[in-house]
């Protein structure tokens, strides 16, 4: 439109009115989508076109949260671009896994319709939906580990349906920090077990930069410092499956903006529950506390928060120094000889669990 004055033109293309500020630069819709998408493409570089024989099979766990939904949208777009080129096969094959949210938390809605919607939105890939308690099916050893983990606090009753058995175990853990912590590990184990069962070598997690920063801080606070090499960095998990976090260069707020631009994404995203102001700090879980910390500090210092995730991802995985935790696979060295830590009675047993898991065990709740 010659002659038309733009009040605030996009700083990248200069042709269109900008619609939002991204890292102190005003961008238009298309330039923002290109900017955000570009960050993912760079992270996904290694999954470019390959000979058919060495094609990657990637698993994308979808929680219907903003981050994993946007990741799906972006990776799908990349796959489409690769498919458009008929001369060479795509670099990867994508499989999506949904762990039905209502089986994880009673506060989450049932998502049958959502599952239909999301499959229609991304027709060319395969989706699977499982319930949280199907972990007993995919990971048969987990039950024994849970019994050992919870000790007398959890008496399993094989006559009950799987849903109730898992519920019973989860109820044996009384603090919200420990419950969230153990739930996270079980979810990871379920996704890993599914990846193995479906022949995927790599899992693409949707964690944004902000989420990774909160996760890094929370893991450190929970005595899980050594697991940052795969919980925050891209790396091999203790179960041999590779973990990748392609969204690590984008802030949570940027993903919110992105989702708002695409009605087809919006149609299946479960909106974040608003942060409640009137919860006492001591009733939060450590994961929640850190998420809040990163969110509030991130408003003022987004770069500092982003740098936390970057710093944590510079740590290098080391060889397992001692035993492996039966629950989370981390080294149990941290739980050995808690000298000066807790002399009286408690942690004198031979560590089968790492320090982080030991802290979340029901009888050690404090």
């Amino acid at each position: 439109m010659p002659g038309k004055e733009l009040s605030s033109p996009c700083v990248d293309c200069h042709d269109v009115e900008s619609i939002l500020t991204v890292r102190s630069r005003r961008l238009c819709r298309n330039c923002f989508v290109r900017y955000a998408g570009g960050k993912i493409v760079r992270r996904m570089e290694k999954f470019r076109r390959q000979p058919k024989s060495s094609q990657y099979k990637l698993l994308l766990p979808l929680s219907y949260g903003v981050s994993s939904s946007v990741l799906l949208h972006m990776v799908y777009a990349q796959l489409e671009r690769q498919r458009a080129n008929t001369y060479s096969p795509t670099g990867f094959d994508l499989q999506v896994l949904v762990v039905e949210p209502s089986t994880i938390s009673a506060f989450s809605p049932a998502c049958e319709e959502r599952f239909e919607t999301v499959q229609k939105a991304f027709p060319a890939i395969s989706f699977t939906q499982v319930s949280f308690h199907s972990i007993f099916e995919f990971d048969p050893n987990v039950l024994e580990t849970l019994q050992e983990f919870a000790g007398s606090s959890f008496v399993d009753d094989p006559s009950l349906p799987a849903l109730d058995r898992l519920e019973k175990f989860r109820r044996s853990i009384t603090t919200s920090t420990s419950r969230t912590d153990v739930d996270n590990i079980l979810l990871i184990r379920l996704v890993v077990a599914f990846a193995k069962a479906s022949g995927c070598q790599t899992i693409l997690w949707g964690d944004s930069d902000s989420r990774l920063a909160a996760k890094a801080l929370a893991n450190v606070a929970k005595g899980r410092g050594s697991s940052l090499t795969w919980q925050v960095s891209d790396g091999i998990s203790p179960w041999g499956i590779e973990f990748e976090y392609p969204m690590r260069d984008l802030f949570k707020t940027e993903l919110d903006n992105y989702a708002n631009l695409f009605p087809e994404v919006k149609s299946f995203v479960i909106p974040d529950a608003p942060i409640s102001e009137n919860i006492l700090t001591k009733n939060l879980s450590i994961d929640e506390l850190m998420m809040r910390y990163v969110q509030t500090q991130g408003e003022k210092y987004p770069g500092v928060m982003a740098n936390v995730a970057r710093t944590a991802s510079k740590l290098q995985a080391s060889e397992l120094r001692s035993g492996q935790c039966k629950l989370c696979g981390a080294s149990t060295a941290s739980a050995e000889g808690l000298t000066g830590g807790t002399t009286i009675s408690e942690e004198r047993e031979i560590p089968r669990f790492c320090l982080g898991c030991a802290r979340s065990r029901p009888m050690l709740d404090n």
Partner: protein
């Protein structure tokens, strides 16, 4: 309700709930458990040898007073055969240090230990009150921290002692872990948690026997043992990153008391995961090469008033980096080392030609900080720069002081010192 019996002896009445694990204990059992834990820390890390002469860095505050008391008790109970003495630093802060030094003098009598006091005034020609009068309250903790580290070493050298123990507690160590994570400081992350920090230049090692002791338990110990200590906090304010980390840790402690200890353990684990080219040590867990460690951290005073200036500065820096990256040209320090160990000059490359697939685990455009140690050209103290931080700070201070008071001779010289430092120096120059 009948009184709860002590969890340990089952006889006496429990009067203390341990902050560390909420065990209910009687007075005597608490004191004994506390001492035993410090003893176990000392034994498992083989901290001392028989006949060793050890200086206790004593400020008169709760931490160092408890440390002196516990070490004296353990030395007698377990026959360590140590020769203990007190070493105090006089920063020259009126209304704070002069009073707390009186406490240390009384402690010296109570514990029958010799006492040595080293003043900033005699070492540097500046008291902290004078420094604050010159630079203002913002950033003065940097000066104090840098000066203190050297002062302790020099005091120890004067006493002919090779081992200084300090009162750093678990809360301090946890705070340092979180702070270094927030600051993105990997080298310090790799050595901040080790119990012993040695330095190559001064051959005086430092250790923190209370690194697993909770601040709250130290207060309880001092209270129940009726120790004579000084409670006033330093009147100048701590640094923003430390302030932010401290708030976080207090919140964590409310949620899960063990988390302070867990952060220390996480920190120890992460130290082993810091790439060796960053940590600069072959075995970071054994003896960390602490050089100017804790220098920018201030002294960890409790009052938590902070300007947030350091965080805002870092934010600006990071935003600028980000911006530079998103523009057409990318300016990047090369990580190639030439055979003679030098690093080629900065190159400006066009992004399109320089674009390579990112290396796994190496974020784009980010370089890992490395340090190489040498000696300060002026005072001989260990430093990663040509002149050590203390001398660099003194240079800035002395430049603006009336000529008569100058004691250290300085040539104008701009080093590639830390950015915060340089900024502070600029500020000083601007304000006069």
């Amino acid at each position: 309700m009948p009184p709860t019996p002590c969890l340990r002896c089952r006889e006496a009445r429990a009067v203390i709930i341990r902050p560390k694990n909420r065990h209910k204990l009687c007075r005597n059992c608490f004191l004994e458990v506390f001492e035993t834990e410090v003893h176990e820390t000392i034994m498992s890390t083989k901290l001392f040898y028989r006949g060793e002469r050890v200086a206790i860095g004593a400020s008169g505050g709760k931490d160092s007073t408890v440390l002196a008391s516990v070490l004296k008790t353990l030395n007698e109970r377990y026959d360590y055969g140590l020769e203990l003495m007190l070493l105090s630093i006089d920063e020259g802060i009126k209304g704070y240090r002069d009073d707390s030094l009186e406490t240390v003098k009384r402690n010296a009598v109570q514990y029958t230990m010799p006492l040595e006091i080293v003043g900033y005034d005699e070492l540097y020609g500046w008291t902290m009150d004078q420094v604050v009068a010159q630079v203002g309250k913002k950033g003065n903790c940097t000066y104090c921290g840098v000066f203190r580290r050297q002062a302790l070493d020099r005091g120890a050298a004067r006493l002919g002692i090779k081992h200084v123990v300090t009162g750093h507690n678990a809360d301090d160590v946890a705070e340092t872990v979180m702070m270094n994570l927030l600051r993105g400081d990997l080298p310090r992350l790799s050595r901040g948690t080790s119990i012993v920090t040695g330095s190559e230049a001064s051959d005086i090692k430092r250790s923190k026997p209370l690194k697993y002791a909770y601040e709250k338990e130290i207060v309880l110990y001092a209270h129940h043992k009726k120790l004579d200590y000084f409670t006033t906090e330093c009147i100048y304010s701590p640094e923003a990153f430390r302030g932010s980390a401290r708030t976080l840790i207090k919140d964590l402690e409310k949620i899960r008391p063990s988390s302070i200890l867990d952060i220390v353990r996480s920190g120890e684990d992460m130290a082993t995961l810091v790439p060796p080219e960053v940590s600069g040590a072959k075995n970071p867990t054994a003896v960390a090469r602490a050089t100017e460690e804790e220098t920018t951290g201030g002294c960890g005073s409790q009052n938590g008033r902070s300007s947030g200036g350091e965080m805002a500065d870092m934010e600006k820096q990071l935003a600028a980096d980000e911006n530079a990256q998103s523009h057409e040209t990318e300016i990047k320090l090369s990580d190639i080392q030439l055979p003679d160990g030098s690093v080629p000059l900065q190159k400006t490359t066009n992004k399109k030609t320089a674009k390579k697939p990112p290396q796994k685990g190496t974020p784009l455009g980010k370089q890992v900080k490395t340090q190489t140690m040498g000696k300060c050209e002026r005072c001989g103290y260990i430093s990663s720069q040509k002149i050590c931080k203390a001398c660099a700070l003194l240079e800035g201070l002395n430049k603006n002081r009336p000529k008569t008071a100058i004691e250290v001779e300085i040539a104008a010289e701009d080093e590639e010192g830390s950015t915060t430092l340089m900024r502070q120096m600029e500020r000083i120059q601007l304000t006069t």
